[in-house]
């Protein structure tokens, strides 16, 4: 019995030690810390770009993907070095307040309004403003992110564009406070409408084996364009921020190689982002 115990202790010790050894050590130098939005991470774009960036510059890119609101806050707290976000008006205020510098437009994708095939409010093919008016008039379920993310801010700007008050407590207006895919799933369960970036929708359609219950009903309206920009954290406010590495990253993203990679990045055979950096 005693020997058995000893064996068990040894086995457990070995297991624990091997596991600890297997983990690569953390490196602190030459690491650029970025806060970005869920869409760039969830689509796999960053996994695609990061190795090329490291190869070209020798800088390791680490990122945490959160909603744009939280990403901006992390930059304001000097916890990251660079941001890749998509909320142009919030970004401009951010630069004016001195939190961020060198805002540079990198690429865009577009949003779409999706809904059930039966389309109870009859919005298919309409302009965004008319479509939202129809949803409101009908009181059809509309699922919003409600999380202050870039996508949420975009959606609010569309409601504002209709000229009427932005819905808040209306029973048909569902604010999930969750990520895009979770919100789409809720919209599907409630047989409602939602606004999403095209990339997440393509992914969603794929997980539904190409036959999703929610279809794209409104698209190709200029108001639906979604601009992504990179911002460096102001080194005068945050003395520890790696401003030089952030600039390297920003230059690289706007350069020919990265812009080409962005253009060629496809999800399930469909392009997601259109590069539009001005050199």
């Amino acid at each position: 019995m005693h020997k058995k115990k000893q064996m068990a202790v040894k086995v457990c010790l070995i297991v624990v030690l091997t596991l600890m050894m297997a983990i690569p050590a953390m490196t602190a130098d030459n690491v650029l810390m970025m806060a970005t939005t869920t869409s760039t991470d969830n689509t796999g774009l960053l996994d695609d770009l990061a190795p090329h960036f490291t190869q070209a510059t020798g800088v390791e890119l680490k990122w945490t993907s959160v909603g744009t609101g939280k990403a901006l806050k992390m930059g304001e707290n000097c916890d990251v070095d660079v941001l890749l976000v998509h909320a142009p008006s919030a970004e401009k205020t951010y630069v004016e307040k001195g939190f961020g510098v060198n805002r540079r437009e990198i690429m865009y994708n577009d949003f779409v309004i999706i809904g059930p095939e039966s389309d109870p409010a009859g919005i298919k093919g309409k302009k965004v403003v008319d479509a939202l008016d129809a949803v409101r008039a009908k009181g059809a379920v509309f699922v919003s992110r409600g999380d202050n993310s870039g996508t949420h801010k975009k959606e609010l700007s569309l409601w504002k564009a209709t000229g009427a008050a932005v819905p808040e407590k209306e029973t048909w207006y569902v604010q999930t406070g969750q990520g895009m895919l979770a919100s789409i799933n809720i919209a599907a369960e409630r047989n409602g409408y939602s606004m999403t970036d095209r990339g997440t929708y393509i992914k969603y359609a794929d997980t539904m084996s190409g036959n999703p219950p929610l279809k794209v009903l409104v698209e190709q309206d200029n108001i639906l364009l979604n601009q992504y920009s990179v911002l460096s954290i102001n080194p005068e406010r945050c003395t520890k921020a790696k401003f030089d590495l952030a600039t390297t990253f920003s230059d690289w993203l706007a350069g020919t190689e990265a812009q080409g990679l962005i253009r060629d990045f496809k999800l399930l055979g469909k392009p997601l982002f259109v590069p539009n950096a001005i050199k």
């Binding site: 068990a8 457990c12 596991l19 297997a22 680490k62 945490t64 993907s65 916890d79």
Partner: protein, 228 residues
């Protein structure tokens, strides 16, 4: 609902094919939870023992405080720890944000009340006759203390296992303080949250099963310490 079955198959594949990302998350989970368990047991067991063993003023109030702390929500702990170790927070200089050490600090705060409260309960529920018996046998105060400590070992083990269960499965602290950074601070639970967000439900279920498998392994390792 075929993703449930797919999840089972995926779990077996992830565990046995040596999938780099999965093992990195397993490593992060074990590292953070081992650190926090070591800290919370070192601090918590003596405090819990003292709380159950000695009589002192305000004991009841202190106990109430510890019991209330059992209900601390993990996201709240995550937020408070973030506020402290953020670069603009009071401990920002230490560079703990987005590290496993930062996660371990938060998890220690999570585990401490569990360890303290359950150890104290174990001491309180110790056989009352034992004390009288030991004194009648001529035990010194010191001997009395140590034999009481020995007597509550199973209670302390149970406290440790309960705390370990909370620490291993929390997601709020790891997400907020660790930032879910691939290869660095992505733990199994934050990976589940991410995969679910990406709509990869079967991978999420697989990772959940991996976590349960680890918990099983830990319990097997500790089972020989239990009362026969």
């Amino acid at each position: 609902m075929d993703f449930i079955l797919a999840g089972f198959i995926e779990a077996i594949r992830l565990l046995f094919s040596g999938d780099d990302q999965t093992w990195s998350a397993v490593g992060a989970t074990l590292k953070a939870s081992s650190g926090s368990m070591a800290a919370s047991l070192t601090i918590g067991v003596p405090l819990g023992f003292a709380l159950g063993y000695f009589q002192f003023p305000a004991k009841r109030q202190l106990r109430l405080l510890v019991d209330t702390a059992l209900a601390l929500p993990t996201v709240f702990i995550g937020l408070v720890v973030y506020a402290f170790i953020s670069n603009r927070g009071p401990l920002g200089e230490m560079g703990l944000l987005f590290t496993l050490t930062g996660i371990a600090i938060g998890q220690t705060i999570l585990a401490l009340p569990v360890v303290i409260a359950l150890s104290a309960t174990a001491v309180e529920s110790m056989d009352r006759h034992l004390r009288a018996l030991l004194i009648s046998l001529g035990a010194s105060r010191r001997q009395l203390l140590f034999s009481s400590l020995w007597e509550v070992r199973y209670g302390v083990l149970a406290a440790g296992l309960t705390a370990y269960g909370r620490v291993m499965t929390e997601v709020g602290i790891s997400m907020m303080v660790g930032g879910n950074i691939k290869w660095h601070t992505r733990t199994i639970t934050t990976a589940i949250a991410l995969e679910t967000g990406k709509g990869m439900f079967s991978t999420g279920i697989a990772l959940g099963l991996v976590l349960i498998a680890i918990a099983f392994g830990v319990n097997v390792c500790l089972s020989f310490l239990r009362k026969k």
